[in-house]
Every structure is written in structure tokens, then in C-alpha cells.
């Protein structure tokens, strides 16, 4: 018997994407995010000056045609530093959230699907971590690991993971009580296949929403750690460390703090808009609209 031509249906992901693109603010957020990603990737080509090049003749000059964002206390071009700083911020945001997903989701799935003492152990540790304020824990971990951008990212990844443990666990518990998981069991699926091929694909939407919001938080956390000297190390630029050195010149050279501050604000806002849009697009209740 020959197989007939098969019509492909509209997948749930495609449907969500369609809904996402109807959401104007979210699309705007996505455009801003993509723009910053391009800026970070193309920094060597679009930065007008070397971000590390100091000059004693151009110290703390206000914005001008030559230096759009002005120059800093060492005569470095602020625009170039903001452009290069996008690398540190976005990398810290994306990589640390990927790390948090990598740590949190498997643990959450195990806790939700296995239950019993495994759940008890994982959930109590996650609860304990969540009981400490996010930034305090990140600072403690980063200080323990030593000041470096990589360590800051690792600290943020660990600190952000309990949220994903809780989310994945809750969604796995929900999924466990559905008929389709029981059907998967009745078909003869081993437990690991149920977790990996049935439950995981179904909990990706809420994880995606949480991840995009977590990136915004991680960017702020990286900026805070760098501000405190625990992240990106001088002279390499990062928005947080730029704010740190700018605080001494708040009144004399306000552009030193306004420019990186604005960059943080815009990127964090953009990620939040994307997260909200994703939430609306992926919410199963939105199907009725």
C-alpha cells in the first residue's frame, strides 16, 4: 500500500507565533532585542572608536558630533563602550538563563514526575534558595567564585534556577494527571520517554515565557554585579561597571551614567515586552479568542 500525500496541519507552535505577531508591543520588543543582538555581534564593525583607547586630551567631553555619547574620565568614547558593553550584558543575560534552564528544568521534571523523597529534597533546596533575595544570593555566590564575568554568569545561573525548578515541577505535576500521560503509559512508554517526549514538549511554552522575563532580570543582575565590581573587570566595558565609574561624576558628567543606564532600561523593557507577548500568545486560554 502506498502512502498518500499528507497535508501538514498548523502546529501549536506556529499558531502561537501567529498570535505573537499580532501583538504590536511584543513585536516592537522583539525588534529592539534583535537590534541589540546585532549591535553586540557586530560591535567591532560599528563601534566608531576603540572602547579601550584612552586619551588625556578628551577627558569627560559632553556629547558632540565627534563623540555622540561623549567621553569618559579616561577619554574613552562612551558610544563605543556602550556598544561593546552590549556583549557583556546580553551574553550574561542569555547564557546565565540558559544555564538556569539547564539546571532547573531537569530537576523540576524529576521532582514532579518521580515525587516522594526526590521531590521533597529538590523542592526544599529550591525553597531555601528562593527564601534568600535574588541579588544577595547572586552577590554571595559571585564573591565566593571570584570577580570575573564568567563567574558572575554562573552565579546568576545558579540563583535563577530555583524559579525554573518550581515552574517545571508544577507543570510536570499538572501533566502527570492528564489522560494523555496515562495514555502514554498505557501504550508502553518507559518513564524517561514520558518525561522527555511527552511532558517536556508540553511545558516548553511557560518555560519560554519565564525565560524571556528571566533574561531581563539576569541583565539587571549582571549590571548590579559589575557595578559592585564582581562582574566584568576593568578596563573591559560593561554597562554595570560603566555606571560604577560614572557615579563619581553624576553632576559634572551626567552622560556617563545616562547612556549605559538608558541602554539597560531599553533592553530590559524590550525583553519584558517579548515575555508578555509570548505569555499572551502561548496561553491556552487565548485559543478561544
Amino acid at each position: 500500500m502506498n502512502a498518500p500525500a499528507i497535508t501538514m496541519g498548523e502546529s501549536p507552535a506556529r499558531r502561537a507565533l501567529k498570535r505573537f505577531f499580532r501583538h504590536k508591543l511584543a513585536v516592537f520588543g522583539l525588534v529592539v532585542v534583535v537590534a541589540f543582538v546585532l549591535i553586540a555581534l557586530l560591535a567591532p564593525f560599528i563601534a566608531p572608536y576603540d572602547p579601550l583607547q584612552t586619551s588625556w586630551t578628551r577627558i569627560r567631553k559632553p556629547p558632540s558630533a565627534e563623540h555622540w555619547f561623549g567621553t569618559d574620565e579616561n577619554g574613552r568614547d562612551v558610544l563605543s563602550r556602550v556598544i561593546w558593553g552590549a556583549r557583556a550584558s546580553l551574553m550574561a543575560g542569555v547564557i546565565s538563563v540558559l544555564g538556569a534552564l539547564f539546571i532547573g528544568v531537569p530537576l523540576g521534571l524529576l521532582a514532579g514526575l518521580i515525587g516522594g523523597w526526590v521531590d521533597g529534597l529538590i523542592s526544599r533546596v529550591a525553597d531555601a534558595m528562593l527564601s534568600v533575595p535574588f541579588l544577595i544570593l547572586a552577590i554571595a555566590l559571585a564573591a565566593f567564585l571570584g570577580p570575573a564575568l564568567e563567574n558572575a554568569m554562573l552565579a546568576i545561573a545558579i540563583t535563577a534556577s530555583p524559579v525554573f525548578v518550581r515552574l517545571a515541577r508544577g507543570m510536570a505535576l499538572d501533566a502527570k494527571s492528564t489522560d494523555w500521560v496515562e495514555a502514554a503509559r498505557a501504550l508502553g512508554n518507559p518513564p524517561w520517554r514520558i518525561g522527555l517526549f511527552h511532558v517536556l514538549p508540553n511545558i516548553i511554552p511557560p518555560l519560554l515565557v519565564q525565560a524571556s522575563l528571566a533574561i531581563a532580570e539576569a541583565i539587571i543582575a549582571e549590571a548590579s554585579l559589575s557595578f559592585l565590581g564582581l562582574g566584568q573587570q576593568p578596563p573591559a566595558p560593561s554597562w554595570g561597571s560603566m555606571l560604577n565609574s560614572a557615579q563619581r561624576f553624576l553632576t559634572q558628567a551626567p552622560w556617563l551614567s545616562i547612556m549605559p543606564g538608558l541602554a539597560i532600561f531599553v533592553v530590559v523593557l524590550a525583553f519584558n515586552l517579548v515575555g508578555d507577548g509570548l505569555r499572551d500568545a502561548l496561553d491556552p486560554r487565548a485559543d478561544r479568542k
Binding site: M1, N2, A3, P4, A5, I6, T7, M8, G9, E10, S11, P12, R15, T178, D179, W180, E182, A183, A184, R185, A186, L187, G188, N189, P190, H198, P201, N202, D287
Partner: protein, 353 residues
């Protein structure tokens, strides 16, 4: 006939916990049920909602572990199987769920869902998979071109057909249908029931139909087991149990069917709580014939072909024929006659014509 599935004294209680997590009691979902299903037979398990019939259906496949008692499939005690051996055994025993909107993984296409059992049990080589999926879809009355679509693109009836195709994929010997049509629109129910009946006949399936709908049961079942609060009260060939019910509970169920020929006082009150089931015969709180003996002594399920669990099964008054009022069937016949234009009006209007 040999028994493909044999249950002996199966008990399943679900613990009920109070606010502090202490065990406060148990829902007596299944309380000592023994049953045998012969190869090629269609057994219906009927009863009101909450009587434990769905739990019993899941215990049959060891989707729920019984507290005690044994379940033997093809002579093999399912409880003795290792998890891996049990999974391999699932090739031969499948289930169709009640809710077609819940039983299909929303992130799998029709082809993926139906191919899953084929892959898990290596039923056909990968190269023949698409052809087998297409054949199964045709078999359940769906166009094979639809294999690439997602569950949300189908109606309830179509989804249930997909679930049936998935259950058939591994060529199982036994299929449990847990209220397979009760979540569907009435207009679709008949189509799906006819499909099931054809499949059972053509593929010589052994089928356990869990249902509260005696109309559906009468349509497909060879044998009927009636359940009340976790226990069997009557069991036997379908024409006997539905045609000449012996237990007062079965009589009430049969009399409540549309088109019933007999009259019985309708059941009063609700089903008692399965957390604290009545003593003795569990039906005594709602039975018109209950005596002191019924309150104290638990009746045993007795009888060879047509078994009944009632102390007074032999001495109950014969059911009253519905002669005074028109039976549902007779009324329907007269209505049909009227609309064909060759019979007097069923409400006497013909006199004025």
C-alpha cells in the same frame, strides 16, 4: 473458550486524608471483584458514576495497582511482571479513554501519535510505518491525508477515531473502552459505536466496555457485569441481564432505559458514599425489598451462567409489564406510523381529520 483476562478478588481503596495528612478513611472504589473475560468476547461493565467501574478498567491493565487480588492476562499474573516486561505486555492490551480532548498529546501530530505504539513495540519496520498509519486511519474512517495534522484541528468524534486507531496500532488482543462515546455528541455517538462494533467483529477483538449507557451496551455487549459501589451485583449474558434482570438494582437500571418494557419503582436517593459503604448488601439503602438480612449479611454473587448477588433473587416478584401506559418502544412505533401517514394520531387528533 479460555479466559484471556481473569480477575480474582480485586480490591482497590483510595486513601482519603484529612487536612493534616492523616489517613481519614478510604474510598472503596473496587471491593472484591472477580471476573473473567473470554477471548473474543465483549464484556460490558455498567453502573452509575462513582461505582468504581473506571477504576476496575484501569486495574485490568495494571495502570492502577490493586491493593489485593490478582489480575491474570493470558494466564500470566500482571503483578508478577517487572516494569519492563509489563511495558512489553502493553502491546497486547490497550485502552480508549473517555475524553478525546484529553487523551491525545496536544504536541503530537496524528501520525506521531499513531506511530508511537508501532515504534515502542517494533510492530513494523520504519519504512512501512507511514503506510501502516494510513491503513489505520482508513480503518477508523479518517482520510489518511490528515496524518500531518494536530489534535486541535479535529472534532471530538474525529479525535476519538484517532484514539481508536492508536489503540489498534499494535494489534492488541484486549482493548478496554472507558466510556468511549459518552463525551461525544449524541449524533456522533452512534457512528463511533458502530465503528467499534465493526472493529470488534472484523478484528475479533476482546473488548471490555465500561459504560453507564445501557443503550450503548445493548448494542455491542455479549456479556454484562453490573457494578454497584465497588461490587458486582449481577453478571451474565447480555440478553439475560438486560432482558430478564434479576437484581433489584439492575431492574431499576433497565426500567430507566428509554423504551423499557417493564416498570419498577424508580431509584430513590443518591448513591451512598463509597468512603462509608452500607453494611450487608450495599444496595439495601435504596432497595424496595430490603429486609433485616440485607442490612446484616453480604450476599454472594451466585449462579453459573447468570449470576446475581441478592438474598432474594429467587423470590422477588416478577417485573411488571408496561401495559397500562404505552411503553417507550410502542410509543415510538406509533409516532413513526403517524408520520408515515398510515396510522391514527398518537394523541387522538386523527378523529378530527
Amino acid at each position: 473458550m479460555t479466559a484471556l483476562l481473569e480477575l480474582r478478588d480485586v480490591v482497590k481503596h483510595f486513601p482519603v486524608r484529612d487536612a493534616l495528612g492523616r489517613r481519614a478513611g478510604a474510598v472503596h472504589a473496587v471491593d472484591g471483584v472477580s471476573l473473567a473475560v473470554a477471548e473474543g468476547e465483549v464484556l460490558a461493565i455498567v453502573g452509575e458514576s462513582g461505582c468504581g467501574k473506571s477504576t476496575l478498567g484501569r486495574v485490568m491493565l495494571r495502570l492502577i495497582e490493586p491493593d489485593s487480588g490478582s489480575v491474570r492476562f493470558a494466564g500470566e499474573d500482571l503483578a508478577s511482571l517487572s516494569p519492563a516486561a509489563l511495558r512489553a505486555r502493553r502491546r497486547d492490551m490497550q485502552i480508549i479513554f473517555q475524553d478525546p480532548f484529553g487523551s491525545l498529546d496536544p504536541r503530537m501530530t496524528v501520525a506521531q501519535a499513531i506511530a508511537e505504539p508501532l515504534r515502542l513495540h517494533r510492530v513494523v519496520p520504519r519504512a512501512e510505518e507511514a503506510a501502516r498509519v494510513a491503513e489505520l486511519l482508513r480503518r477508523v474512517g479518517l482520510r489518511p491525508e490528515n496524518a500531518g495534522r494536530w489534535p486541535h484541528e479535529f472534532s471530538g468524534g474525529q479525535r476519538q477515531r484517532i484514539a481508536i486507531a492508536r489503540a489498534l496500532a499494535s494489534n492488541p488482543r484486549l482493548i478496554i473502552g472507558d466510556e468511549p462515546v459518552s463525551a461525544l455528541d449524541v449524533s456522533v455517538q452512534a457512528q463511533v459505536i458502530n465503528l467499534l462494533r465493526d472493529l470488534i467483529r472484523d478484528l475479533r477483538l476482546t473488548f471490555v466496555l465500561v459504560s453507564h449507557d445501557l443503550g450503548v451496551v445493548r448494542h455491542v455487549a455479549d456479556r454484562v457485569a453490573v457494578m454497584y459501589l465497588g461490587r458486582l451485583v449481577e453478571e451474565g449474558p447480555a440478553e439475560h441481564v438486560l432482558g430478564a434482570p434479576r437484581h433489584p438494582y439492575t431492574r431499576a437500571l433497565v426500567a430507566a432505559m428509554p423504551g423499557a418494557q417493564t416498570k419498577t419503582p424508580p431509584l430513590e436517593g443518591d448513591v451512598p458514599s463509597p468512603i462509608a459503604p452500607p453494611s450487608g448488601c450495599r444496595f439495601h439503602t435504596r432497595c424496595a425489598y430490603a429486609t433485616e438480612q440485607c442490612r446484616a449479611e453480604t450476599p454472594r454473587l451466585e449462579g453459573a451462567a447468570h449470576a446475581v448477588a441478592c438474598h432474594f433473587a429467587a423470590s422477588l416478584p416478577a417485573p411488571v409489564e408496561r401495559s397500562a401506559a404505552l411503553g417507550g418502544g410502542e410509543r415510538l412505533a406509533r409516532l413513526q406510523g403517524f408520520f408515515r401517514g398510515n396510522a391514527p394520531s398518537p394523541i387522538g387528533m386523527g378523529d378530527y381529520a
